[in-house]
């Protein structure tokens, strides 16, 4: 298993090569492009809810939030409203902020034990990379709407403007493109270079990163380095969106590589750890209020158990209670 990263790269290269090849195959093969797009969408749109359904079909028998601050108890002790929520609303806020700002990673530190101490220092690299990656990906996805909707919605135009504050010439440099690639490179290098993370990494951990990098790199390539016929791509994208697909002519090999990589990624998500995008919301250590002693939580499978009853105990201890004068 020493070659996990390499194996994963080979797997990720397959859709990229298939895409490039498509550009050189006879025209009828182009039908594979819309087919792949629809298939990937279908797998994603059905797969993710299926996964969610599977998770939610297991009940939450106990309310087990991890409390990360003072509880709400006495009126004069200020509680940590977010980190130890005492109401459902506060728990929702904790969850939302977790998803939007990765607060748990913000606590991260690095510790090393030895020489009669434990040396701990803050470590925000992972948080920074994670936040840059996720937010730029969201911005980039939203920017892609310009290809699917005509006229381009106003908020997309605004987003584009904000994303390229140093707009010069015909090819504005989007900060999100840059941030995405830098963050992905960091996450990949970290996985390869940090002995601890490398030790625990699975092939699938690399595969997710390679696919994302592939999508990102081919996208950036088309945008900044090789010219592509944006009008044709947009025509194809819109045709997909309105469910009357046309064949993607003049789109070029990089576009097909980009498309196939993106489709592979979308289809892979429901079966992979990337489904954490949905699962994180369900995490019972984060999305529940720590109010067990105020509001009873119900366990749907709570079943009676065998106990050692007072009557049984009394039977065994009657004499002892009597001699000690303990009331029965």
């Amino acid at each position: 298993m020493r070659y996990r990263a390499g194996f994963a790269l080979l797997i990720a290269l397959a859709p990229a090569c298939a895409g490039v090849a498509l550009a050189f195959l006879p025209k009828p093969f182009l039908v594979l492009a819309p087919a792949a797009a629809y298939a990937a969408c279908a797998i994603f749109l059905l797969g993710l809810p299926a996964r969610l359904w599977r998770w939610t079909s297991s009940p939450v028998p106990f309310r087990i939030p991890t409390t990360c601050g003072q509880q709400r108890s006495l009126a004069w002790i200020p509680p940590a409203r977010l980190d130890n929520p005492s109401t459902g609303l506060a728990a929702a806020a904790r969850m939302l902020l977790e998803v939007l700002t990765f607060r748990s990673l913000l606590r991260n530190s690095r510790s090393r034990a030895g020489d009669g101490a434990v040396h701990t220092r803050d470590s925000l690299g992972l948080w920074l990379a994670a936040i840059l990656f996720h937010w730029s990906l969201l911005i980039i996805l939203l920017r892609h709407l310009r290809l699917f909707v005509q006229p381009v919605p106003a908020f997309v135009l605004t987003l584009q403007k904000l994303d390229a504050p140093f707009h010069t010439g015909a090819h504005p440099l989007y900060l999100s493109d840059l941030a995405l690639l830098v963050a992905l490179a960091y996450l990949l290098l970290r996985r390869l270079a940090d002995p601890v993370v490398r030790y625990v990494s699975l092939l699938s951990d690399y595969l997710a990163l390679w696919l994302l990098l592939g999508v990102g790199l081919t996208g950036v390539l088309m945008r900044y380095l090789v010219g592509v016929d944006v009008a044709s791509i947009k025509q194809f994208a819109i045709s997909l969106a309105v469910f009357s697909p046309v064949l993607p002519r003049n789109c070029g090999p990089w576009f097909f590589a980009h498309l196939f990589l993106a489709c592979s990624l979308a289809a892979y998500i429901p079966f992979s750890k990337i489904a954490h995008m949905a699962g994180v919301w369900l995490s019972p250590t984060r999305n529940l209020a720590n109010n067990n002693r105020a509001v009873r939580h119900i366990n749907p499978w709570n079943a009676p158990v065998k106990t050692h009853t007072y009557a049984e105990w009394l039977e065994e201890n009657k004499d002892k209670l009597k001699s000690a004068g303990i009331p029965q």
Partner: protein, 534 residues
């Protein structure tokens, strides 16, 4: 640090973890549970065996039992199912575990501890694992895997520290709990968990002390308190119709230094005239069932409500214990409630209604005392603790499964003049475990305990060197048992005290004599002025 101490060092892990096996060397594991203890609790597959034996005498169909057990738990616990799927192996949790820091063993990284079970889950319960096996991160379930589970699930104190840092809140303690339940199904248990559990179940306390001896001990404590303070206190046991049932971890009745905390409780209850009772049937608040299975936890915990009902008390007060409070705060009401035969606790002294426990009807003693002190209902003379320079250890469970952080600190600051916090990265929700929780605190496991307790000990050493701290206060019975040897080893010269022991030292009793010693019989010097706090 002297060279004959255990060497703590961390090396980068290399190679492939699936190819390594645990080394059951002496000092790093706990003895198996005796067949008698399994029988007494009606647990499956009782037999004599030891983890160091090559043959563990597993039942013939052990593999099927385990796979069925996993399936059942995937269907019963969303936490388990999610935590099997969600981890992205980001490594944020890796160095948060005191056992990894102290042992350097990569399988003590929470992420890998969980992968021990997750790899089996993937192989048998996911399509990709069934199809691609090892490539998809799956692993065959073999006897070696069972041994590995045993070794590492009993090297996790279920402290939840890893869960604080995980972006998805993955709680390896939850996985360890499930892992131990699975081992339970094939009769692989440890004696240090099942022996106290069985004694609590049958007799009513973890040492198996019969009720008349319990009474002797408590009466003796009353005598001792009288000797120290000159005040005679009444201590009811099994009193019907008392207002409050008081449940403490049973170590408080029988062992030191817990015992000084008992003296503190008795003094406090007497001073405020609390109408309360101890119980011999439900005399144990600690719940070693938590360290074995959800079911056993429930069976032990049930006694508390049953006894409260029988004695017709109004509400329940709980003593200083860590995991007992995890059970009370996160499980009791759900498992054994509703406690509709009790009333919402109201302090008979201050009139405070403790609405935050209106369903469970069980209050933590630190919450109760902090309220008393805050309302000025007790007189404290903190100078009587001037011989102590105190720091406070947050026990894992009250910190990360409850958030009881400032109440005990308030009691301490009111009772002591010299109080110092350990570094921020080691207290409150970041607190480091004692290294011996969840039933690992046994002698044969000493090396691993000293390793696991190393981060905590180093933080204590830090305040000792910086502020001359000589007392570590805590609110956990396991802490009080295991921190003294831990500190003796890594940071000698520090005593371990209960919060209510220190409160008991400072508490001015009506009609008391001039105190010359604290509750543990050490001389104190009282200046002739008025008490500083009223």
């Amino acid at each position: 640090m002297s060279s004959d101490l255990i060497q703590i060092e961390q090396r980068s892990p290399e190679g492939d973890w699936t190819a390594t096996k645990p080394d059951f060397r002496k000092g790093t594991w706990c003895y198996s549970a005796t067949p008698q203890n399994l029988t007494s609790l009606d647990l499956p597959n009782p037999r004599p065996w030891q983890p160091s034996d090559p043959d563990w005498k597993l039942p013939e169909n052990w593999k099927q039992i385990l796979l069925d057990g996993i399936k059942e738990r995937l269907e019963k616990y969303r936490s388990f199912r999610l935590f099997m799927d969600l981890c992205v192996r980001c490594g944020a949790c890796a160095d948060k575990c005191h056992f990894y820091l102290g042992s350097g063993d990569p399988k003590n990284m929470p992420v890998l501890r969980a992968e021990l079970l997750r790899s089996i889950y993937r192989r048998y319960f996911t399509a990709s694992g069934r199809l691609f096996g090892e490539l998809a991160g799956g692993r065959e379930l073999t006897e070696d895997v069972v041994k590995e589970w045993f070794y590492y699930f009993y090297q996790c104190t279920e402290c939840r520290r890893c869960s604080v840092y995980c972006p998805y809140g993955i709680d390896t303690a939850e996985i360890t709990m499930i892992g131990r339940e699975l081992l339970n199904l094939i009769g692989c248990n440890t004696n240090w968990v099942l022996d106290p559990a069985s004694k609590c179940y049958r007799i009513g306390n973890h040492l198996g002390i019969p009720p008349h001896s319990l009474k002797d001990n408590i009466d003796f404590a009353a005598d001792e308190l009288e000797e120290i303070t000159g005040v005679r206190v009444e201590v009811p046991i099994g009193k019907k119709g008392a207002e409050v049932l008081f449940v403490a971890p049973s170590a408080d009745y029988f062992v030191t230094p817990h015992y000084y905390t008992l003296l503190g409780y008795l003094a406090l209850f007497h001073e405020i005239g609390l109408d309360y009772t101890f119980s011999a049937y439900a005399g144990e608040g600690g719940n070693f069932g938590l360290f074995s299975s959800h079911e056993l936890m429930k069976r032990l915990n049930a006694k508390i409500y049953d006894e409260a009902k029988r004695l017709k008390v109004k509400w329940i007060l709980g003593g200083e214990c860590g995991h007992m409070w995890r059970v009370i705060n996160q499980y009791m009401d759900t498992m054994n409630g509703p406690a509709d035969f009790l009333e919402t606790p109201v302090s008979p002294v201050t009139g405070t209604r403790f609405d935050h426990v209106r369903s469970t009807k069980m209050l933590h003693i630190a919450e109760f005392s902090a309220d008393l002190i805050h309302q000025g209902k007790v007189r404290l003379d903190p100078r009587r603790n001037d011989h102590w320079r105190v720091t406070y250890h947050d026990s894992c469970n009250p910190a990360r499964a409850m958030g009881l952080l400032d109440e005990p600190r308030y009691v301490l600051r009111s009772s002591c003049n010299h109080f110092y916090e350990m570094p921020d990265s080691t207290i409150r929700e970041h607190t480091f475990c004692c290294g011996s929780g969840s039933g690992l605190g046994t002698d044969e496991n000493l090396e691993m305990r000293l390793r696991g307790g190393y981060p905590r000990a180093m933080a204590v050493k830090y305040v000792k060197e910086r502020h001359d701290v000589n007392a570590l206060a805590c609110i956990c019975a396991i802490d009080k048992a295991v921190l003294p040897p831990l500190l003796e080893y890594w940071a000698p010269g520090i005593e371990v005290a209960g919060v209510h022991e220190l409160l008991g030292n400072a508490l001015v009793l009506k009609g008391e004599k001039q105190r010359t010693t604290d509750l543990r019989g050490q001389p104190i010097q009282i200046a002739e002025e008025e008490p500083a706090h009223a």
